[in-house]
């Protein structure tokens, strides 16, 4: 036994959390301060006596908000443990009861008492009118809830959960708490909102009536009418996009891996495009090409003498834009699948007298089937969740994601309708997510072991190869054309009207001048650009941190309910950004957590939207670090926190960097969630660009997009350089990325950065 228990009358860590709780309860203002989380004018503005800025203790002593007083007693409860040992059963039980009661009470009073007194009618009928009210929680409540949470986890650990490991139990508690508060609670509140009737009651009938309304589900268009339900529109588009991206992805994957094509690396580089391109940019390029004054439309009209039309707005344009945007994702998934088919199977087939054609049709393709289904579902989910392209391209073809937006921002301002639409959208994506995880996940024939069989994949039949080259070549040319149009378009004065070249868009957006105060960022885009940078830079490390911590818990620890934990953390893959956006404005517009209009809500939405990226990166590289490394660290006397910090994190450096960069990039390019959450003070690049598009200022929008793409390219390029050089000196085996890949544009850092296999140097 290593003798290093500190013998005090009270466990030091209990003292620490009690102290933090008391600072929150007795010293810091309990309620949120109006001039923001980082405004400190309250210090000189009547604190601590003024009720607006008073700590809970002062409020209680003044006889106000007496419902906060019990928290103080519960925070003092651990003092009863004076002189008791950690292994004493009372120790664990008391902390569990005290922590849970405190955390529960804090939440309950927060939800029960709002801006208008009691929030629930049964409380009013029970206690009568309250005659008081409260605002959103602030610093004090934050610290106190943290203290209760971690006292609770301390208690659970002391009762022997996960081998009594305080660090692990606390981490699990923390992740569960934040995921519940920032993913599940908003969704549930959105659900409640959708069930609300006009007079404020709740009714399942009303909910069902809204859910099954003809606006969503009408099949009018089949019967000759002009409009089908929004849900059908989305479904049709998503299925088409899923099929096409799967097909094109397979074509590219086959070209790269099975035809002896020499520039495969170049094609792989294309996969970086969707990561760095804000979703609506492709849509913009399509408008420049095929819109009413688009280059292609105009020249075709000129040559054949037909009237240019707005044909591209609607299903055709959406289809083109989304297939362009999401094919690289299918490609990335299928490359792993195609490489994962064991060459010895194909060689066996050939020795059994099958020709190359027969081998391909009877062996290779069937073996890829689960992977193809996987790619299809990813394309489906991507299309469902896509917001940027429909926003600029959908015309009269309404889809769910944009309908949600217009329900909130349009003249109707109907949060309940938005909630219903969001639920339908969520239903579709979760269904696909579930199918992908539980149906396809168990049917994969490809085994990615990193070793691979001996043997080489046979070449494809010549005819097929030629066809693949043609399709891939045309599509690549089209992609290049699209990006070229964006780049070129940013220098054109007024597309379709005045094609002369100019720098005026850049000047207008990014002008910099010098005046007596130094640099003056006079361009109109600078404000949103710097805000975006700031928010992205703040959220990236937080996202990577919580992602890697979650990955550590998933890969390295065993605890009860781990499967549910994993499902919950991965679920946010399948929650479209628009849904997150709507649920956030529904949930965080009123107490107990009031965040709308702040920068914090943007940061939070980025963290929980992008958290799966960090989790994926962490899981991918952590499962390649031999478990005996952790175990040897433990037997050498390090505890799990020290092991995490000194052994696992240093070995995860490249995964960390990848997670950081990808969360940064995603934060820079995201549009769907943030468009609901931006405010005048906190406007982001993407929503600024969309605003310009809505004003028909395409020039600035395209110029700004070009700048964003270039910035992202530089960031990703720098990361590749750094990550690449980090792998020197370790044994690395390139591992194909197969099986379940990620929902969205970026979440394949594993493949992009080339993970290394790290074993215990054996």
């Amino acid at each position: 036994m290593r003798f290093r228990q500190t013998r005090g009358p009270l466990e030091p860590i209990v003292v620490l959390w009690m102290a933090i709780g008391w600072v929150g309860f007795a010293l810091l203002p309990w309620y949120g301060i109006e001039d923001g989380f980082f405004g400190f004018s309250w210090l000189f503005d009547g604190y601590p006596v003024d009720s607006k800025f008073a700590p809970a203790l002062v409020l209680a002593l003044k006889g106000e908000k007496l419902w906060l007083a019990p928290l103080g007693f519960l925070l003092a409860a651990p003092l009863l443990l004076w002189g008791r040992n950690k292994s004493d059963p009372v120790f664990g039980r008391l902390l569990v009861i005290g922590g849970a009661a405190g955390f529960g009470w804090l939440l309950f009073q927060g939800f029960a008492i709002g801006l208008h007194g009691w929030q629930f009618s049964w409380l009013t009928s029970l206690f009568g009118d309250l005659g008081d009210r409260q605002f959103g929680m602030g610093y004090g409540a934050l610290l106190v809830s943290g203290a209760f949470l971690f006292l609770l986890t301390l208690g659970i650990a002391a009762r022997g959960a996960v081998g009594g490991d305080v660090f692990v139990v606390s981490s699990i508690g923390f992740v569960v708490a934040v995921v519940s508060i920032f993913i599940f609670m908003p969704i549930l509140m959105m659900l409640a909102n959708a069930m609300q009737t006009d007079d404020g009651g709740y009714s399942l009938v009303v909910f069902l009536a809204k859910l099954l309304s003809s606006r969503l589900w009408s099949l009018d268009c089949l019967a000759g009418g002009n409009r089908c339900g929004v849900a059908w529109n989305s479904l049709l588009l998503a299925v088409l996009v899923g099929l096409l991206t799967m097909f094109l992805g397979l074509v590219f994957a086959l070209v790269v891996t099975r035809t002896g094509f020499r520039y495969g690396k170049l094609l792989r580089a294309l996969t970086v495009l969707p990561i760095i391109t804000p979703a609506f940019v492709i849509g913009l390029a399509i408008i420049l090409l095929f819109g009413l004054s688009g280059a292609v439309t105009q020249s075709v009209a000129g040559v054949f003498g037909i009237q240019p039309t707005r044909w591209v707005y609607g299903l055709p344009g959406l289809l083109i834009a989304q297939v362009l945007a999401f094919t690289p994702i299918a490609f990335l998934v299928l490359i792993g699948v195609v490489e994962g088919v064991s060459p010895s199977m194909e060689e066996a087939s050939q020795t059994l007298r099958a020709s190359r054609w027969q081998t391909f049709w009877t062996v290779s393709l069937p073996l890829m089937r689960p992977g193809l289904a996987n790619a299809f579902l990813l394309g489906f989910i991507e299309s469902m969740a896509d917001f940027g392209n429909p926003l600029v391209l959908s015309g009269n073809y309404d889809v769910l994601s944009t309908e949600i937006f217009f329900a909130i921002v349009g003249a109707q301002n109907d949060a309940a309708l938005a909630a219903i639409l969001a639920l339908v959208l969520l239903g579709f994506t979760l269904g696909a997510f579930y199918a992908q995880r539980f149906w396809i996940g168990r049917r994969s024939y490809t085994t990615v072991t990193g070793k691979g069989d001996a043997g080489v994949h046979p070449r494809l039949p010549n005819g097929l190869t030629r066809a693949l080259y043609v399709i891939a070549g045309l599509w690549t040319a089209f992609t290049v054309l699209v990006y070229a149009v964006i780049f070129y378009g940013s220098f054109v004065r007024l597309w379709g009207v005045d094609q002369s070249l100019t720098l005026q868009h850049y000047k207008k957006a990014f002008a910099v001048s010098w005046n007596e105060f130094g640099i003056h960022w006079s361009g109109s885009a600078w404000s949103s650009f710097w805000t975006t940078m700031e928010i992205a830079l703040i959220s990236a490390p937080l996202t990577a941190g919580i992602g890697l911590l979650t990955a550590y818990l998933l890969v390295r620890q065993n605890f009860r309910g781990k499967n549910a934990f994993e499902f919950a953390t991965m679920l946010s893959f399948a929650i479209p950004g628009t849904v997150i956006g709507v649920s956030y404005i529904i949930a965080f517009n009123v107490p107990p957590i009031e965040l709308t209009g702040t920068g914090i809500i943007l940061v939070l939405s980025f963290i929980f939207r992008n958290m799966p990226v960090g989790v994926r990166a962490g899981v991918a590289s952590m499962s390649q670090i031999d478990r005996s490394l952790d175990e040897s660290s433990l037997t050498l006397g390090a505890n799990s926190w020290q092991t995490f910090r000194r052994v696992i994190l240093p070995l995860l450096r490249s995964a960390m960097l990848a997670a950081l960069v990808y969360s940064f990039v995603r934060a820079m390019t995201a549009i769907s969630a943030v468009i609901f959450l931006v405010s005048a003070r906190y406007d982001l690049s993407t929503s600024y660009i969309v605003g310009r598009v809505e004003n028909n200022e395409y020039g600035i929008a395209i110029a700004y997009s070009t700048v964003l793409i270039v910035v992202m390219l530089v960031v990703i390029g720098l990361m590749q350089l750094v990550v690449g050089s980090r792998n020197i000196g370790r044994r690395g085996i390139q591992k194909g990325d197969g099986g379940w890949s990620v929902r969205t544009n970026v979440s394949l850092p594993g493949t992009a950065s080339g993970p290394t296999t790290i074993v215990g140097a054996g």
């Binding site: 036994m1 290593r2 290093r4 292994s87 022997g160 081998g163 009594g164 490991d165 065993n558 031999d626 005996s628 490394l629 175990e631 040897s632 660290s633 433990l634 037997t635 050498l636 006397g637 390090a638 505890n639 799990s640 020290q642 000194r646 052994v647 240093p650 070995l651 000196g729 370790r730 044994r731 790290i758 074993v759 215990g760 140097a761 054996g762």
Partner: protein
Amino acid sequence: MAEIRGNAASVTFENVTKTYPGASTPAVDDISLAIEAGKLVTLLGPSGCGKTTTLRMIAGLEMPSSGRILIGGNDVTRLPATDRDVSMVFQSYALFPHMTVMENVSYGLRFSGHDKKEAASRARAGLELVGLTDFGARLPSELSGGQQQRVAVARALVLEPLVLLFDEPLSNLDAKLRRHVREEIREIQTKLGLTVVYVTHDQEEALAVSDRIIVMNKAVVAQDGTPRELYDAPANAFVADFIGEANILDCEVVAVQGDEATVRLGTLALKLPARGHQAGPAKLAVRPSRIEIGPAGAPQTIAGTLAKVTYTGSHLELVVATALGDVFVLSRNVDAPFQGGDAVGIGFPERGPVLIKA
């Protein structure tokens, strides 16, 4: 310079059972053991027999489902690995690839309350003990397999653990190096008087290195004894067959007088140590090298025909078809003119056959 001391303590298992969550049968089933301080004890058995689980429970990497574990007389059953004074050398060595050899060896010392200087000095002493004094600045990836193994040993030793655990330490080394390394391990163990628990599935390695061997099979202890006891007097057919090879022959105990049993084996009557057997059907375990082979019809032999003769250089491997079934025999007499189909007689010298349970 600091010196590495041995700090041996005994290990006791009292009715320890371990069932992994979701598993229907226990990985370790109601095991009781007493490992003396300062001895090298091997856990030997086929894969899946529970030996590694047993080792990991000593380390604190697995917690028993029931029972008690004591180290040096103290109950450590619920103590996690971090707080146990036990070190382990892993099969993969588990050297931290991002740390130099020196950093690896001093890693554990930093958590044991030694200051930097003390830790460095102890780490150097550890490296000296395994003969790697000049390799401190290298990364593990720059060492050979044998050197990595020694670093792992040094890293475990410098903590002066009460018990040192080895999990198949030789399995990643090539055959010639194995003999050398196992002798080194044994040498260090006797020099410092360490308590070592050593897991292997290689019976030859176990016989060569151990003070005592605990043979495990199907989650229970099959036999516990010195190498010689296990080889010469296996308790049951499993041990007889797992340690070295053995012919298991049906026989019948005719009579028991004191310690001596009269056993009928086919046409022969043998006088053997009774080992607690009563009259009735039993089995005999006979080492192939302890069977004599001679001309057909010799007295006190069982008649048979040579079914197979294989020349392996140092000896002949013979399969003799007899009324008792096929009997496998090793003969040192490589020059004997045996041929397949020859009629022969096989005899059983006094210390050859061992009675085991039917």
